[in-house]
Amino acid sequence: MSRRALWSAAALPALLLAWNGVAKIQFEEIAGPAGVQMTHTTRHFKGKSADVLRMFTSGGAAVAVGDFNNDGLDDLFVTDSDEGKLSKLYRNEGNWKFTEVGEAAGVAGGNDPLSIVADGLWFDYDNDGWQDLLVVRFGTPILYHNERNGKFKNVTAGSGFTTFGNSIAAVAFDYDRDGDLDVMLGHYFKAENLLDLKTPHVLPNDLDNAVNGGGVALWRNEGNGRFTDVTKEAGLAHHTGWTLDIGHGDFDNDGWQDFYLANDYGTDRIFFNNKNGTFRDATEKSLGFDTKKGMNVDVADYDNDGFLDIYVTNITDEYMKECNMLWHNNGDGTFTDLSKETGTCPTLWGWAAKFGDFDNDGWQDIFVVNGLRSAGKDNYIPVLVTMITTPGIDFTDVNNWPNIGNMTWSGYQRKKMFRNLGNQAFKEISAEAGVDNDLDGRGIGMGDFDNDGLLDFYQTNADQKSLLYRGRTQGAGNWVQMKLIGAKSNRDAIGARVTLTAGGLTQIREVNGGNGYAGQSSLRLHFGVGRAAKLDAVEIQWPSGLTEKVNLTVNKIHYVQEGKGVVPAWGPKK
C-alpha cells in the first residue's frame, strides 16, 4: 500500500465523522496548566443579616472574553467579589499559556467596602479600535479606557456613570444606530446599598411575581466619552423586576436591536425597538407572562430558519419544576417555548447558558452551568419552606429569612451540554464530552483561545475555582471565523448580522455585546460548516445599514472591515 493510500485510509474515518456530523464532542479542562485557575469569593457581609445577604448575592463570579491588546488572541477578565479581592486579567500568550496582568493593567480593583464587583464587559466605547472595560458592581460601575500600552485609565468620573445600582448584568449595543455603543445595565436589588443597609426590606416582595427589584438602566453614549441615563425616555423605567440577565438581538429582522430580560422571581420581559430611541414592552403578545426564576439569556438561531431564538435558564429541581425556556422565534413577533419538545428543559438550578457549534456541523449546541451552593449534608430547602409557608410572612424583610450556615441548596449539580441534532431535538452529552463537573457554576465565556477553529470556554464558579475547557473534538467539521470591524457602524460591529450559506445550509450570527449571565463571549463570530469545503455566500448587514458581500475561505479567521471587505489580520504574538 502506498504512503498516500495509507494516509487516506487513516484520514477517512475522521473525514466521515465530520461529513456525517457525528463527531464526538469533547473538551479537556486545563485551567491549572494554562494559568487561569482562580478561586472566586462571594462578598462577606457584616451584621446579623450577613448570612442571608451573602446567600442572596452569591453571583459575581463572571468572565469577559476580549482581545484587549489586539494580538489576535482572546484574553480573559475574571471577577472576584469579596472585599479587597482583586479581579484578574489573563493575557493570552498563545499555546495555552496566560499571564495575569490585572494589577499591572490597572483593572483589578473595585471591591471596596461599599461596592461589590459583579460582572465585566469589554467594549470599544470610543471607537478607537481598542477594547475598553466596564466593571459592573453593586455600587457604581467603573469605566476603564484602554491606553493601548497594556494599561487602562479609570475614566469613570467623566463618563457619567455615577448612579448607584445593584448591577449584575451589562450589555453594550447601539440601540439608536448612531455609530457608538450604548450600555444597558441589569439591576437585581433595588437601589439600596446592601453593605450599608438603611432598611431590612430589600428582598423580593413575591417569590413568583416580584415587582420590587432594580429593573434596568439604559445609558446612551454621547460620543464624547460621556453617557447619559435615558432609561425613562426609552420607556424602560416602569420595569422593576429582579433583572439577572439581558440578551439583545434583532428579533424581528428589522435592522434594529431588541432585547430580552431574564428576571428572577417572576416575569421575563421582551422589548422591541421602536426605531426612535424608545422600546415597547411586547411581553404579553410575544411570550405571555411567566412566574419562573429567569437566570440567563442567550440568543442564536438554533434551527437555522433565519430568526434569532432565545434560551433562558430557570430552576428545575426536585422541589421546583420550572423548566428552561427555549423560545422559538415564530417570525411574526411571537415566540413558542420548545424546551420540553427539544429536550433542553431540565438543567437543575440553571445559571449561564451559551450557544456554540462545538462540532462545527452547522447546528448550534448549548452548554449550561448550574448549582447554587454545594456545602454540608443538611439541606436548606425544608428550612426555607418553613419560612415561606409561615402565614403573613413578609418576604422583603431580610430578618425573616433563615440563615443558611453550612447547608447545601441545589448543590453538587452536574453541568449539561446539549448537542443539536438538527431536527428540533437536542441530546444531553455532558459526561461523554467531559464537561459534567459539579461545581457551583455561574458564568461562561466562549471563544477560540488557540485559534484552531474549535470553540473553547471558561466557566466561573461561586466560591470555587474556575475552569477552562479546551475544545478537543476529533473529526469536527470545517469552520470559518470573522472579526468584524465597523467604520460607520460601531467599531466592535456589535449588532452586525452575517448570513452564511455553505453545504446547503444557511446560518445567521449576530455580534453581541455581552449576552449570557456573568459571561461575555468573544466578539469574533464562529461558524461550523460541516463538510463544506467552500462558502457559497457570505453577506454582512452592518448596523449602519450597509449590506456587504465578501468571499471567504474555510478553516480561517478573517478580519472584515465595513466597506473594505477582508483586511489583513492581526497576527498572534510569537
Binding site: 413575591d206 417569590l207 413568583d208 411575581n209 417572576g266 412566574t291 419562573k292 426564576k293 430552576i315 426536585e318 422541589y319 421546583m320 419544576k321 420550572e322 439541606n379 430547602i381 425544608p382 419552606v385 415561606i388 409557608t389 402565614p391
Partner: protein
C-alpha cells in the same frame, strides 16, 4: 317544571365538569352554600365552575368567610382546602408550595371536625405531591392507611380504588416498592379494569419512577371534582 328540569341537567353537567359556567352560577352556588355550608356537592360543583372561570381568589375568600360563619362545617373546610389546590396549576412554583401547605391545614381542620374517608384520603393524597425532601410521605401513608381501614368496613364503592392507588404511591415514595406493588395488586383484584393500577403494575424501576413523578406533578391540574361520592349513592 321545564325550567327546573333544565336546571337539574345543567347542574348534572357541572358535576361532570363539562359545563360553560358563568359568574351568575357562582352567585347561585354561593347562595346555596350560605344556606348549608356542609353541602359537599354544592361546594365541589361551585369549585368546578370557579376553575372554568379562573375565579380562584373569589372562591378562597368565599370559603374563608363561610368557615368563619360555620366553624363546625367539616365539608366546608374540605372544599376550602380544595379551593387552594385548584389554584395551584395556575400559580408560580413557590406560590404552589404556599397554596399546598394552606390546603393541608384546611384538610386537617376538616379531619379534626369529622374524620371522613374523603377527608383522610384527600389529605393523605395531598402529602404525596410534596417532594421527598420534605418527608411528608409517611404522613400521607398514615392517612391513607386509615382511609383504607374505613373503606374495608364499608361496601365496595368505585371511588375506593383511589386509596389503593395512592397508598401504593405512598409506599413507593417511602422506597418500599414491594409494599407498593402489593397494595396495587390488591386493588387490581377488586378493580381489574382500572387503568391507573395497570399502568403502575406494568412498570418498574426508572420507568415507574417517571410515571409516578409525572402523575404527582404539581403543575398538572388535579381532578378535585367529588362527583364520584354522590354518583355512587
Amino acid at each position: 317544571m321545564r325550567q327546573a328540569t333544565l336546571l337539574v341537567c345543567a347542574w348534572a353537567l357541572a358535576g361532570a365538569g363539562a359545563w360553560g359556567a358563568t359568574l351568575a352560577d357562582l352567585d347561585r352556588y354561593e347562595a346555596l352554600l350560605a344556606k348549608n355550608a356542609d353541602d359537599i356537592r354544592a361546594g365541589s360543583e361551585y369549585r368546578q365552575a370557579v376553575i372554568q372561570l379562573k375565579q380562584y381568589d373569589r372562591c378562597i375568600k368565599f370559603f374563608e368567610e363561610l368557615v368563619a360563619k360555620s366553624p363546625q362545617a367539616a365539608n366546608a373546610y374540605l372544599n376550602f382546602g380544595f379551593a387552594y389546590v385548584d389554584k395551584i396549576p395556575d400559580a408560580g412554583a413557590i406560590t404552589q408550595v404556599i397554596l399546598a401547605n394552606t390546603a393541608l391545614s384546611h384538610f386537617s381542620k376538616s379531619i379534626e371536625l369529622k374524620p371522613s374517608w374523603i377527608a383522610l384520603y384527600t389529605r393523605g393524597n395531598s402529602y404525596l405531591y410534596w417532594p421527598k425532601i420534605f418527608g411528608k410521605a409517611p404522613l400521607g401513608v398514615k392517612d391513607l392507611e386509615e382511609a383504607m381501614k374505613m373503606q374495608k368496613q364499608d361496601k365496595l364503592r368505585p371511588y375506593h380504588v383511589r386509596a389503593y392507588i395512592s397508598l401504593g404511591d405512598g409506599y413507593w415514595k417511602m422506597d418500599d416498592v414491594e409494599k407498593a406493588r402489593a397494595v396495587w395488586q390488591e386493588g387490581a383484584k377488586l378493580f381489574p379494569n382500572e387503568p391507573r393500577l395497570k399502568e403502575r403494575l406494568s412498570r418498574s424501576g426508572d420507568e415507574l419512577a417517571k410515571y409516578i413523578d409525572e402523575t404527582l406533578d404539581p403543575n398538572k391540574r388535579v381532578d378535585t371534582n367529588l362527583h364520584e361520592l354522590w354518583e355512587d349513592q
